[in-house]
């Protein structure tokens, strides 16, 4: 009987550690990976084609659904590209709000990453801890946009509305005691900014908690140190960005190097890894959470002192207020035109990149002067990362595949688009 040299194994598409619908065809020699072939596209919805068939503003909601754990950052890339082509100015207050929510989104994303990555390689507690903090941040989303995830909050010209003066409160119910409800509502008595400020006071302590659980943990280090090592040269060759690139020791952050909005005025540092393994990328993301916390705090302080408009007053792009519409014919016409036909964007092309929690999220927009984009290309960071899956796992054990999927921070909404 012929001896079996290697065998092929299907990992996914329905596997909890595959972070969605990843079908990974693994060529194995015992426990060792010889070749990995990721099959993606099981979540392909044709977002780019759909965007071509709709007025510009109607696609903002699709952007939320790309990387569905960092919703507002996706919107940000899209509205930046439109603003670039239109050449419109965004009010300063809106820029600060966008920066603040970008960083809140970064925390949301990194918390989910940390929880899921921990769960994948044996640290169950992390998942519960991280979701506790995510809940507070989701409440910020809800307070400002009315939804916990798919916010559609950023608009070309600013943000949909100003920050609310009150936070929604928990109501008495049969599942929680009055004492518990009072505890939950304690931070929610003031405005949204009070709530966020209180969060930024609490959060660094929580990050310390995570670190005491993981950073020096023997099992954690055994599972991550020297797993999935990527050299700086290879990281650039493979088109890595964000924490994947910084983990390999390259100091590149779009927020610092090509600042957009008010990132140029913010004080924060870029953490950089040394060895380019899963453990370094873990350290980079943990430090990014602390830096995001710093940025949020700076935004809160600024926003408290500087009230003002949060939407451009260019009526060809931004809708007029309801009050104006009741009295002013011109406003009524603007409103009608904006909500039936939309606005036309000058012919041309633009590429707008933002530092998304996962890496560089870019929107390449081609307009032919119509009220719909001619072509939208979404440059998803995860797409480049997962294309390097084979290179990162070859020679590792099967269990390390899970660690590499975790460290790449894969979300299929953005990879498959």
């Amino acid at each position: 009987m012929a001896e079996i040299q290697s065998f092929t194994m299907n990992f996914g598409p329905q596997h909890p550690a595959a972070h969605g619908v990843l079908r990974l065809v693994l060529e194995m020699d015992g426990e060792v990976i010889l070749h990995a072939d990721p099959h993606v596209g099981l979540l392909h919805r044709g977002t780019e084609k759909l965007a071509e068939s709709k007025p510009f503003n109607q696609s903002i909601g699709y952007m939320d659904r790309l990387d569905y754990v960092s919703m507002m950052c996706n919107e940000h890339g899209y509205v930046l590209a439109i603003e670039k082509l239109l050449g419109i100015e965004v009010p300063l207050r809106a820029q600060y709000i966008r920066v603040m929510f970008d960083e809140i989104t970064r925390l949301l994303n990194h918390l989910l990453w940390l929880g899921a990555h921990g769960l994948d390689i044996g640290a169950m507690t992390m998942f519960i801890y991280c979701f506790r903090e995510r809940e507070d941040l989701m409440d910020c989303y809800e307070a400002v946009s009315g939804t916990r995830m798919h916010a559609t909050y950023y608009r070309p010209g600013g943000v949909y509305r100003d920050l609310p003066d009150t936070m929604p409160q928990h109501k008495p119910n049969q599942w929680r005691s009055d004492k518990e409800i009072a505890r939950l509502n304690r931070q929610r008595t003031g405005s949204l900014l009070d709530f966020i400020e209180d969060f930024t006071d609490r959060f660094p302590v929580r990050v310390d908690e995570y670190e005491t659980l993981l950073t020096d943990n023997r099992i954690w280090k055994q599972r991550t140190v020297n797993v999935g090592v990527v050299s700086p040269e290879r990281a650039m060759q493979l088109g890595f960005s964000g924490p994947m690139l910084r983990g390999s020791g390259i100091e590149w952050d779009v927020r610092k190097k090509q600042p957009y909005e008010v990132y140029g005025d913010m004080a924060f540092d870029i953490p950089v890894g040394v060895n380019g393994d899963c453990y370094d990328r873990y350290l980079v993301r943990i430090e990014e959470m602390r830096q995001s916390n710093r940025i949020i705090r700076q935004c809160v302080d600024w926003l408290r002192k500087h009230p003002g408009p949060v939407m451009s007053d260019n009526r060809k792009v931004a809708p007029p207020s309801r009050v104006d519409m009741k009295e002013d014919m011109e406003s009524l016409i603007h409103h009608f035109k904006l909500f039936t036909e939309g606005y036309s964007v000058p012919a041309g092309e633009a590429y707008a990149a933002v530092e998304h929690p996962k890496g560089e999220f870019g929107i390449y927009l081609v307009s032919d002067g119509a009220n719909k984009p001619y072509r939208v290309k979404i440059r998803a960071p995860g797409f480049a990362h997962i294309s390097a899956m084979n290179e990162m796992v070859v020679g590792h054990m099967l269990a390390d595949v899970v660690a590499v999927i975790g460290t790449q921070d894969i979300v299929f909404g953005e990879i498959d688009r």
Binding site: Q237, G348, E349, R375, S387
Partner: protein
């Protein structure tokens, strides 16, 4: 355009001369068009030479210019005659055509220089060949692997020298290239579960294509730079 980018543009025109032709940009981005046979040489020089240092290929994507500048709703005479109904069937050019318009398909590359902090865009038209084909840059930037597979899947553009040009995002056994402008938004087939045969079956789409908001191109002073200046 920022002065740094003007300096880069000068270096590029000094190094490559006529093989790269600059494209006017309304938002200060540097774009060049080049012939497809020049692509590998230019790409290698942009990556390796110290003056440029574009180590990273951030994105490569296809564009189909078939319907560029066509609107679904003519507004010129609307004041006197009133608006027509919006949905006007487009002239569809089937894939079986022997030759394409030479400027129909393009592949657009977005380059990034981490060391020198520059971005650059290159555009290559595929020419009249059917199927369209351009040289692969996978040897120069390994990241091109999946980007080129995606362009092939979505637009049917072939990449000469790509070792593994398979479909990537569409279903196994998919027919057609969905991001071409002559591919309908609703697709050609739909899937359902066939009770009798006990498996998933494909059939032609049963829904009607429709336009909710027609595509309109406005040439007024809000959008045209020339008219804006006259104001």
């Amino acid at each position: 355009m920022k002065p740094r980018y003007e300096a880069l543009a000068q270096r590029i025109s000094a190094r490559f001369g006529d093989s790269l032709s600059p494209v006017e940009s309304i938002c200060g981005e540097l774009t060049y068009e080049l012939d497809k046979q020049d692509l590998p040489g230019v790409a290698r020089a942009l990556r390796n030479e110290d003056d440029f240092g574009f180590e990273m290929l951030m994105d490569a994507c296809g564009v189909d210019y078939l319907a560029y500048g066509q609107s679904e709703w003519q507004t010129e005479e609307a004041t006197s005659s009133g608006f027509s109904r919006a949905s006007i069937p487009k002239n569809i050019v089937p894939d079986a055509d022997e030759k394409f318009d030479g400027r129909r398909f393009a592949v657009v590359y977005h380059l990034l220089s981490v060391s020198r902090n520059y971005r650059l865009r290159l555009r290559v038209f595929t020419g009249p060949d059917n199927p369209p084909i351009v040289p692969s840059v996978i040897e120069i930037w390994n990241a091109a692997n999946w980007y080129e597979r995606e362009v092939f899947d979505m637009f049917g553009i072939l990449f000469e020298g790509h070792p593994d040009l398979r479909r990537i995002l569409t279903d196994y056994g998919f027919i057609g290239h969905p991001f071409r402008k002559d591919f309908p938004l609703i697709g050609n087939v739909e899937v359902r579960y066939d009770l009798e045969r006990g498996r998933v079956a494909y059939q032609p789409v049963s829904i009607e294509p429709r336009t909710l908001v027609p595509r309109v191109i406005r040439d007024d002073n809000r959008y045209s730079g020339q008219l804006k200046d006259e104001q």
